[in-house]
Symmetry: D2
């Protein structure tokens, strides 16, 4: 993840514009937060939303996530699955089922 | 994108805990912004960073992006590539090359 | 705004720890976004909230806003009132009354 | 904090537009995160910034902070000073001086 086609398209887009120079991990982390704010704006005053706008803003967040993974040299599937194993330990099924309680507040 | 294995693992994780009830698009957008803030915290006072921490926080952002794409019924590769076409029009190579200027401020 | 007592207390806190060196406008902007994410976390899965936690996280956001205003040499009351005048023009009472529509989408 | 004049001006602005209905604590927390993202955008690709833009975006963050404090019925000076006392304990001068280390990683 993402598909080789997506990675290649994003790399070509960046290379054509000579933008790799701006893609430091720090700048990409800022960009992810900025785009996450724009995604959130789709829901600012209500839970109702325009599906197209949400898709566009989600695409922007994910685009910068792919750039950051590229700069770090990591595979997104791999780190998502690795993190899932940690989360599994923090939220055992029997304690977390049907509850949105944070793991730090689940009874031991 | 992501791989079928990742999608299946995340779905199973959510189903086992009966957490789909919390995964409204609005709550997932909030979650993406929250995790984007934690990712940014890796760079709060400096551009230097701990690679493992950054990977873990990036994984959290992407995990919620995958959940949101699932709830919306869209494919992340597809929306990223579609958005890329729009961005291509906003940032023509000849005007944007080597510059981080926002498209609204590129000379016409 | 804030009161002279608050400004003095924050300045003394920073000076005692020799932390002004970390308080670049960029780092403070990152810090505001990070703390805004923590504030949002109080509402991640529901509109219900713990009042004390919300107050603590709101305090963190405002603390960094006061630091940023200090570094920029501006008064928060002044810039809030100045911005309010602009917003007043974007959202005329007769068009905006009772609606959360963004100004770019209000009918002309 | 803020000055009575600022509080009154913001309240009148909101009342004239009948917008209090949108100002739930949750919506205001989302709004603070959204505006914090716009503030961060002033620093997206560089530490250099346009002072006027930063002031405008900072004003937006603080405006929503004032609204949230109003809805919660708390005074911003009070919660900032209360939180400062907690932070003082987490970051004793002798351990934190000149270091940006997070309190969880300061040696005991």
């Amino acid at each position: 993840m993402p598909s080789k086609q997506t990675i290649d398209a994003l790399r070509a887009f960046t290379a054509e514009r000579d933008w790799a120079q701006f893609h430091s991990p720090e700048n990409l982390a800022k960009s992810i937060a900025i785009e996450a704010g724009e995604l959130l704006e789709c829901f600012q005053w209500s839970a109702e939303f325009d599906k197209c706008e949400v898709e566009d803003e989600l695409a922007d967040v994910v685009t910068y996530c792919i750039h950051l993974a590229g700069v770090l040299g990591v595979d997104l599937d791999e780190i998502v699955l690795r993190k899932l194993e940690q989360t599994r330990t923090k939220y055992p099924v029997e304690k977390a089922r049907g509850r949105s309680t944070k793991y730090t507040e689940l009874e031991p």
